[in-house]
Amino acid sequence: MRNMPPPFSVRARLKRSDFCIDVNFDGYPGLTALFGPSGSGKTTILQMIAGTQRPDSGLITVGGRTLTDTDARIFVPSHKRRVGFVFQDAQLFPHLTVGQNIGFGRWFTPAEGSTPQQDLVTGVLGIDGLLKRRPATLSGGEKQRVALARALLASPRILLMDEPLSGLDDARRNEIMTLIERVRDEFSIPIVYVTHTRDEVRRLATHVVQLTDGRIEATMDAPDLPDA
């Protein structure tokens, strides 16, 4: 495994008046957690992978494809990157049904061999019964499940998750974590998962990138993450 090229790699530098990010890391198959306190730059790194934020300088590749290369003046716009993004607060389209929401990405990126089947995804995520509903009628946990399905069905090369559990109570968190484990194990898509919660890293991550103030403090396999 370790001899294969990494499924993604990020080298990025971004300076703003109030913070500075300077990171360089390779991803591993499975789930890579970006772990650190708020303000450590986790979400910004995710946005740079997604192409909704430009680094001042850097090189970002996913699955061997260069998405950002400031030296070569390459910047693939976000809609051509094939990233699946699961937002903190789901960001479902309120004017569309659940079915239309999860079909949104497929409309732009036709299904291909590696794309998970819609039936399989809705089955795994337990949202078969919700397809005709409107997002406003869903609970927080249901919304996150739909958001996960929507991202998966857009045939992503990488799945980016930005604290997807932060708005949920403990029972729902547990439920969604089980689903994320299944997604991690059943669909072979590398996942980058942003969190500041240690038990999420313990349970979900295969690899951890620990961040402080926009810099990498340590990288390790998930079981090696020390207690507090």
């Binding site: 997604a50 809609h79 990157r81 937002f87 960001q91 309120p94 406003a136 857009a154």
Partner: protein, 232 residues
């Protein structure tokens, strides 16, 4: 029909035609201007914003007079439209539609701009990560979410166009069968002996049309709000 005389019917139908054409033609411009003012940064934005809102605060007679100068037979714009498109505005119903469209434009612009500004832009970002290009994001996310404001804007512009008086009468006068609309017809009837009854009837017609337009917009708006229901 319905006890209206032929010239009353002419004025009513002409009013509806002028107001509809004015609103439909102004709509794409209003959507574009509203989007530009809500989203883009460009030099002279405040100035353009003010100019677009001028018809709202200027005396309508002044707007009508400026239209006469620019879109009249001798005006530069008037000549251009006649030479290139064969459209003449002076003393024609098309001129009435132009005057009404310009008078209703700021109202439509304001309503649509507010709804663009209220949209959570992260939804557009989400659509982008799902593969939608900027144009598709606008068509599939931004525009549908702005629909309530667009409907309000359309109704306001239509109602304004129906009631327009000052700019229209200055620009295209008050010619029965060509430019005489409900409001200018009411004005004429109040000027002639025995015209009070006709004036009153047309006044009631304009109230009914305005009420129907408001009710229709309210029903549509509720239906959309129920569908969108961004509030929990």
């Amino acid at each position: 029909m319905l006890g209206f005389s032929a010239d009353e019917w002419t004025a009513i139908l002409l009013s509806l035609r002028v107001a509809s054409v004015a609103t439909i033609v102004a709509l794409p411009f209003a959507i574009f201007a509203a989007y530009a003012l809500a989203r883009w940064k460009f030099p002279g934005k405040v100035l353009i914003d003010s100019i677009l809102h001028l018809p709202l605060v200027m005396p309508p007679v002044v707007t009508g007079y400026l239209l006469l100068l620019t879109f009249g037979k001798q005006g530069a714009a008037g000549k251009f439209f006649y030479d290139v498109f064969g459209i003449s505005f002076s003393f024609r119903w098309t001129g009435a539609a132009l005057a009404c469209g310009i008078m209703g434009f700021p109202l439509m612009l304001r309503a649509i701009r507010l709804s663009f500004e209220a949209i959570d832009r992260r939804l557009e970002t989400a659509a982008g990560t799902l593969g939608a290009s900027p144009a598709w994001r606008f068509l599939l996310v931004t525009l549908p979410l702005a629909l309530p404001g667009i409907i309000v804007g359309v109704i306001l512009c239509f109602a304004k166009a129906l009631g327009e008086f000052g700019a229209t009468i200055t620009f295209v006068s008050n010619i029965p069968g060509e430019t005489q609309m409900i409001s200018t017809a009411i004005y004429s009837y109040t000027e002639i002996p025995g015209g009070e009854e006709k004036a009153l009837r047309l006044a009631i017609v304009s109230i009914v049309i305005a009420t129907l337009a408001l009710v229709a917009s309210e029903i549509l708006n509720r239906r959309i709000q129920r569908r969108i229901a961004t509030f929990e």
